[in-house]
Every structure is written in C-alpha cells, then in structure tokens.
C-alpha cells in the first residue's frame, strides 16, 4: 500500500513536534525513519497510526485521503503500529491477547483464534505458546505476538517503533528475516522507526531523516554510515576516551545470593562492587539480570544469601530503606514505573526534592528550570511528562536522581536513545562514577557493555559469570558466554 503524508504539523504547547512533514512510502519496501530523540519520529508515527490527530496536514492511502479517530480506525485501513512498549494486556494469555480485537460474533471462537495464531506465527517463524501468560514473556516475544496480531487483523502497513531495543540478538535475526519475507512475498510497507544505524543498514531500502520536527533529508540505501550520521546530527560525532578507573572502598557485597527470576532462579551469585566502578550485566533478555538489579534495590527479596551495603547487612531492607541508604534504581519502563504520566516536570522535581511538609512551588519551579537547562531536556517546567519524547523522559529520570548516591542501579540506561543522547547519558553517569558512585547497569547492547563497564557479569540460565577484564575480552568471546558457551 502506498502511503503519502502531506504537510503534517503537530504541536504540544509551544513544542513543534512535527513541522510540515511530507513523505511518500511505497508498498513492498522497508523504510527507515531516522532521527535523534525528540526529532518527532514517534509523534509522526502515532499520527499515521491513529493514536493522535495531527493539527494540520493530510494522510493519503493509495491516493485517497483518510482520517483516523482511533488506532482501530487506522487498522481497519490496514495501518498497524508496533509500539516501543508493546500494548498488550499482561494478565491475559497469548491467545486471549491475540483474540482481542478480532472481528467476529458475540462469542469468541477460541478454536479458530488458536488456529489463526498458529498459522500466522508459523508463517513468520515465531514460536509462541498460546497458553502462556503475557506478563511472563520477554519484550521480544510480546513484540512477536503484537506483529502476529496486527497481521491477522489485516495490517498492510507495519510501523515498528524501535523494535530492536530490549530484545535478544536471536530475536532480532528472526524479526528481520520475517520482515524481509513479508515485504518481498506479500508487498507490505514496513516503516522502521529507529536511531540504530546498524538496524537501518541491515533492513531498509530507503531512509528519511528527521531533525527537530522537520524532514532534513532522504537517502536510498545502501549508503555510508558517515553520510547518515551527518544527516542525523548535522555533523559527525567522535567517541571520547573513558577516564581511568579509581577504585574506591567496597560499596556492595553480594554473597551466595539466590533470586527467583521470571522463568529461572539465579543461584549462588557472588560479587563485590567498589566505589567508582561500573558493572555491566550482559545476557539474553530475561536471564536474571533484571532480578539481580531488583534484588539489589530491595524490590525483590532474595531466597538465600546476603546483600551487604557499606558494611551493613541490607538483605531484608525494602526499597525505600535502600533509597534512604543511598541506592537509586532507574527502571526501563519510564512511564510505567519511573515517571508519573499526568504530572508536570515541576511536580516531578517537587516530589523528588527533599523538604518539609509544604511544597515550595517557587523553588520547585526554579529547580525544574535549572535541571531542564543542565540536563538539556526539551520541555518546559509546566509540560506534562508524557508529552516529552522518550529521550527527554530519560533525561528527566536522570535529573530526578539524588546527587550523592552510593549505588546506582539502571535497567537499559540508553533504551530507545539515539547515539548523541546515549553518549550524553553516559557522560552524566561517568561524572557520577568519578564522584564515587558505583554503577550497575544492564543492557542488551553488547557494545555499550564493552565500552562502559569496568567489569562485566554475564548471565546465562541462572548462572552468573564474572568477566574481570573487558579490555582483554572480545565481543565474540562475550557473545559466546551469553550464549552459554564457556570461553
């Protein structure tokens, strides 16, 4: 299906998220919408998929103008969007989620739904257990479910918003293969919203680059990476060398820890973390990294072993007690468990600021302005947090962390961020490290782990393996560990 966007404009308050955007997308092709965070990619795709209306502009499908009031409307016209955070119902099973939105009679036909699910999943090469509960699935599996669901509902245009963040390398391979097949065999239009150059290079035949709400360029693929980077940022970026380690006193000592994870139990984990150290947690999605981080934050009690923070046993301390002792935890799902949709930036800072019973709104406002400037957040003190882009939400999350931390625990610190924003986030984190904060982070991005970790813990099947010297370890060696092969 041919999709034409004409002069799409969308503003949030004084923010021009989309500024007179026009583009044409043909059937049987894979397009990339490339741009740094806050460039307006997600906004544009939400308009195309019926989640929000544009202020002005037209959408034409095969030459006919259409208007959507809801995502269901858009899907009826054949436009389906896969969101960064899959929009499924976690308490239902895979089959039940699949059956939701199927157009059939009053009584759902479970047998037909089951057959259709198996049919579509096979066609794409996805392995989905229809009776598994969605809250037990990995992000990658939930994504597969969502794609299957959209296709079964007749999607001819598939929009994928940062699909490769938070999924394993294998899942990414499967995803890319099936997308290529869909496009070649069935003539679908696929739109990949991404800032990951390697994904774009591997998958797409044509690239549109957005910057600050405008289309700043388009490019047929393949082309050189430098050219894309130049389009995205206006200039090429270079990496800064990391300052040398200064290991301080022992901050965290984990002894013989066993933690129940989502699908497996992490057993017998031992780790000492010193002030000023960065520990990267690598492993396939759902191998226990997450359970370990949450245990360290006091959010998930371990079944065995001890956690010692600066000489004190904190194994049985709850989350708020850990926070009081100088531990911070930054979750991956920003709007689900980090920030409060419906509150303004000022209200967030007021909430996080220490103080008496009364809120000093003036001080909170000043604080918000100061942090917005310092953390380079594209938003205003009175902006509601959900109107900010993913990258700016992540900046806000960092800006909310207290300044003197002993231990900072982060799930996917650069999830969904472009190279520039990711680098900026790490500058902030390394600053904290220089001040003596120990950092433990998990990431599905091996390059990120290799680049920033002083030491690496690799999780596989409930076992944790410590890699002491990343400099002496190659990415492929690490990849083998992640895949469960001893080096």
């Amino acid at each position: 299906m041919r999709v034409e966007l004409e002069h799409i404009t969308k503003t949030f308050g004084k923010l021009r998220a989309n500024d007179d955007i026009s583009m044409t997308l043909e059937g049987g092709q894979i397009y990339a919408i490339l741009g740094e965070n806050g460039a307006g990619k997600s906004t544009l795709m939400k308009i195309l998929s019926g989640y929000q209306p544009a202020d002005s502009g037209r959408i034409l499908l095969d030459g006919k103008e259409v208007a959507f009031e809801t995502p269901a409307d858009a899907l009826a016209y054949g436009i389906g969007m896969l969101h960064q955070d899959p929009l499924d119902v976690p308490v239902l099973t895979v089959l039940e989620n699949f059956a939701l939105g199927r157009r059939e009679g009053l009584l759902p036909n479970r047998r037909a739904a089951r057959a259709a699910l198996a049919d579509h999943a096979n066609r794409l090469g996805f392995l989905l257990n229809p009776d598994a509960y969605v809250d037990g699935l990995t992000i990658g599996e939930r994504q597969q479910l969502e794609i299957v669901r959209l296709l079964s509902l007749g999607a001819r245009v598939l929009i994928l918003d940062e699909p490769t963040t938070g999924i394993s390398a294998e899942q990414k391979d499967t995803l890319f293969k099936s997308l290529k097949r869909l496009v070649a065999d069935e003539g679908l239009t696929v739109i990949l919203v991404s800032h990951k150059l390697e994904d774009v290079e591997a998958l797409c035949s044509h690239v549109y680059v957005l910057r600050q709400g405008k289309v700043v360029g388009q490019q047929a693929m393949p082309c050189s990476t430098d050219r894309l980077v130049a389009l995205m940022f206006g200039q090429s970026i270079e990496r800064t060398p990391r300052p040398p380690i200064e290991r301080g006193p022992l901050v965290l000592s984990v002894q013989n820890l066993s933690i129940p994870g989502r699908r497996l139990v992490v057993r017998n984990l031992n780790l000492d973390v010193h002030a000023g150290e960065v520990i990267g947690l690598a492993g396939l999605d759902g191998s226990g990294q997450n359970a370990f981080l949450r245990a360290c934050a006091g959010l998930q009690p371990p079944t065995e072993g001890r956690i010692v923070l600066v000489g004190q046993d904190v194994t049985r301390c709850g989350y708020h007690e850990m926070v009081r002792r100088g531990v911070a935890y930054a979750p991956a799902g920003r709007l689900e468990e980090g920030l409060v949709a419906g509150l303004t930036l000022t209200e967030h800072f007021a909430l996080a600021m220490p103080g008496g019973a009364w809120v000093n709104w003036k001080a909170a406002q000043q604080q918000a302005e100061k942090r917005i400037a310092h953390y380079n957040i594209r938003g205003r003190p009175e902006s509601l947090i959900q109107t900010l882009s993913g990258g700016n939400q992540q900046r806000t999350l960092l800006a909310l962390l207290p300044s003197d931390l002993k231990l900072l625990l982060m799930e996917n610190p650069t999830r969904g961020l472009d190279v520039e924003s990711a680098r900026w986030v790490w500058t902030q984190l390394l600053d904290r490290r220089a001040q003596g904060t120990a950092i433990i982070f998990m990431s599905p991005d091996l390059d990120e782990i290799m680049e920033y970790s002083d030491r690496i813990v690799v999780f596989f099947g409930g076992q944790a393996t410590l890699v002491d010297d990343p400099a002496q370890t190659s990415v492929s060696q690490l990849g083998q560990l992640i895949g469960g092969k001893a080096v």
């Binding site: 503003t11 949030f12 308050g13 209306p53 544009a54 202020d55 208007a67 009031e69 989350y319 708020h320 926070v323 935890y329 979750p331 709007l335 689900e336 468990e337 980090g338 920030l339 409060v340 949709a341 419906g342 509150l343 303004t344 209200e347 967030h348 007021a350 909430l351 996080a352 103080g355 008496g356 019973a357 009364w358 809120v359 709104w361 009175e382 902006s383 509601l384 109107t387 909310l400």
Partner: protein, 354 residues
C-alpha cells in the same frame, strides 16, 4: 487547537460549559415528569425555591444540611486524588454516628457541653477512621479492591447499627435511642434558626484543611502522583501503602464527623435512628465526581445539593409530590454533567482532527 497544558481558568470555563447545559436538560426532564402527572412545573419551581431559600430559617436549614455533605466530599477529595474509590464512606458516616452516640446517650442534663461536644466529635472521628482503616488494610494487605471492601463494610455498618438500635440501645417500641439530653446536642447560634457554630466550624475547617493539603503540601502532591501511577510514585519514593491508609483514615474521620452532625445538629432528630447516614456519603461521591475532583467548587456544589432535599420537603407538603423527586434531580444532574463532559471531549477531539 487544543493544548495539553490546561490552566485553571480553562477548567473553570469547562465546568460552566458542561454544568449549565446539563442543568438545563435536567430541569426540562423534571418539568416533563411533572407535566406527565398533571402538576404545574412553574408552580412546583416557585414552591421549590420558596421552600428552599424563602426565609432565613430555610436558608439556615440549607446551610446545615450542606455541612455533612461538605465533610464527606472533603474527605473524598483526598482519596479520589490518590486514586482510591472510597465507596465505604457511607459506612464510615454510620460508624461516626454510632461512636458519637456512645458518649451522647450517657450525657446527663447537668453535663458541661464544652467538654461533651469535643469528645463526641473526637470519638466520631475515631469511629469513621477505624472503619476506613479496615478498608485500607484489606486493600494494602489483602489485595481487596477498596470499592468491594467498602460495599461490604457499608452493609456491616448498617447491620451493626440495626443490632444496636433493636438490642442494647433500644428505647421504647421503635428501633431508636432515647432523645439525648441538651448538653449532648449542638447548640443553636440564635433561637429560631438551626445554625450551629460548632458544626459550621468543624465542616469549614475540615474543607480548608483538605484544600491546603491538596494545594500546598508534599503529602498532597504524593497523593496526586499515586492517583496517576502508583507504581511510579512508589519508585519515586512515595510510601504508597502508608498513604493509602492515611488518606482513607482521614477521609473516614471526616465522614465520621458528618455522622456526628447527622445525629447531633439542630436539624437532626437528636437521637440515633436507623438509616442515619441517609446516603450523605454517596452524595459526597456525586459531588466530587461532579466537580472532577477540583476542591474549589465543592462548597458551592454541596450547598446546591442541600437545597434539593429542603426544597422538596415543601413540595411534598404543598403539592403532594414525593421527596424522591429530589434524588432523581441530583442523580440525573451528575449523570448529565458526566455525559456533557464526555461529549465535550469527543467534540474537541474531532474538531482537532479537522
């Protein structure tokens, strides 16, 4: 163009855009009901207004009638802001009335009302707060939704009341206590009018307290954050379980005060009766829903709601209309406003698409 940043003036405008058409529709509806049973709507309206605000005594009655509603609505502002649907407020009112009676029925004619009345208020607050605490603990420890817990506790409170009035506290043939002695009752400000200073003071103070809690305190902001996303609020350092308990108990305490007024105020009967709460808690829920949890409008709406029962009293006497017409009016109004809100946001959405 719609902006996502709503200012407070915007909200006020919204309230009028929805309230006035809704009021008009409901009045037409009531007019049609009256015409269908051959009553003159214009005469009914005149009688209603005269009955509600036609004299100082009537206006005083309206004010006194509004106070328990104001108390319940103030408490509910806290729980609604925190995302807690405290439907158990009705039972908390009943418990407040029962606890106030524990003291009131023992008071002798020579007691000092300066001591008795504060004691009655305090006990009523404790009763309401404890009953709310049960719902809160069921929620935080037992994972029982506060709506279902509240409904169950409302039933239990009613049955405790009936047990007391047909058993240990029964006086005479009817299920009711004896009339309390004068020092136990709230004093009139001046003879001939039902105004009572202590009642007005506690209700207005409670509302002002809630208003400032929500507007200016850290706790109020925490409740707001919890109401929008409990999980995120927890991770941002808000002690959510404790705040559920505290906000529910504070709401229960204010509901308990409302219960005390329903037993002790000059427009009450001065004794504990069955059905003492009379739906005032539910009216509080309606008020808070009507104003979309915006504290500023609560006193006005409470007064407006209090006009209805006083006005329909007159209709009942002069035109033999049933008092339930007042309930129809109140409920239809809330429904109409909610409907108008829905239509307005739909219109805005489709307008912004074009």
């Amino acid at each position: 163009m719609t902006t996502l940043i709503r200012t407070s003036t915007n909200r006020v405008a919204n309230l009028f855009v929805t309230l006035l058409p809704a009021l008009f529709v409901v009045l037409v509806l009531i007019g049609m009901i009256l015409s269908s049973i051959d009553k003159d709507p214009a005469l009914a309206a005149r009688n209603f207004i005269e009955g509600a605000i036609g004299s100082d005594a009537r206006r005083a009655d309206v004010l006194m009638m509004a106070l328990p509603m104001l108390l319940c609505a103030s408490g509910l502002l806290l729980t609604f802001t925190a995302g807690l649907w405290n439907i158990g407020v009705e039972g908390q009112v009943t418990m407040g009335a029962i606890f106030a009676t524990i003291i009131a029925k023992e008071v002798t004619s020579d007691a000092n009302s300066l001591l008795v009345i504060p004691a009655e208020f305090i006990l009523a607050m404790i009763g309401g707060a404890l009953w709310a605490a049960v719902a809160a603990i069921l929620k935080t420890k037992g994972n029982v939704n506060e709506i279902f817990g509240g409904v169950a506790l409302n039933f239990i409170a009613t049955n405790v009341l009936i047990y007391l009035l047909t058993g240990p506290w029964k006086s005479g043939t009817y299920p009711q206590t004896a009339v309390f002695e004068q020092p136990a009752l709230l004093p009139r400000l001046m003879p001939g009018l039902s105004l009572s200073l202590p009642a007005i003071l506690v209700a207005v103070t409670s509302f002002v307290l809630v208003f400032f809690i929500l507007r200016g305190t850290r706790w109020g902001l925490q409740l707001k954050a919890m109401g929008k996303s409990e999980r995120s609020a927890y991770l941002l350092g808000v002690r959510t379980s404790r705040n559920v308990l505290l906000s529910m108990m504070l709401c229960g305490a204010l509901a308990g005060l409302a219960g005390a007024l329903l037993v002790l105020s000059p427009i009450a009967r001065g004794r504990l009766l069955t059905g003492v709460s009379g739906g005032v808690g539910f009216l509080g829920v309606l008020i808070v829903m009507l104003v979309n949890t915006q504290a500023t409008w609560v006193p006005i709406v409470a007064l407006f709601f209090a006009i209805v029962p006083i006005g329909t009293l007159k209709l009942q006497n002069s035109m033999t209309l049933d008092a339930s017409l007042g309930n129809v009016f109140q409920s239809a109004l809330v429904l109409a406003v909610l409907l108008a809100n829905g239509i307005r946001s739909r219109l805005q959405k489709s307008a912004s698409i074009k």
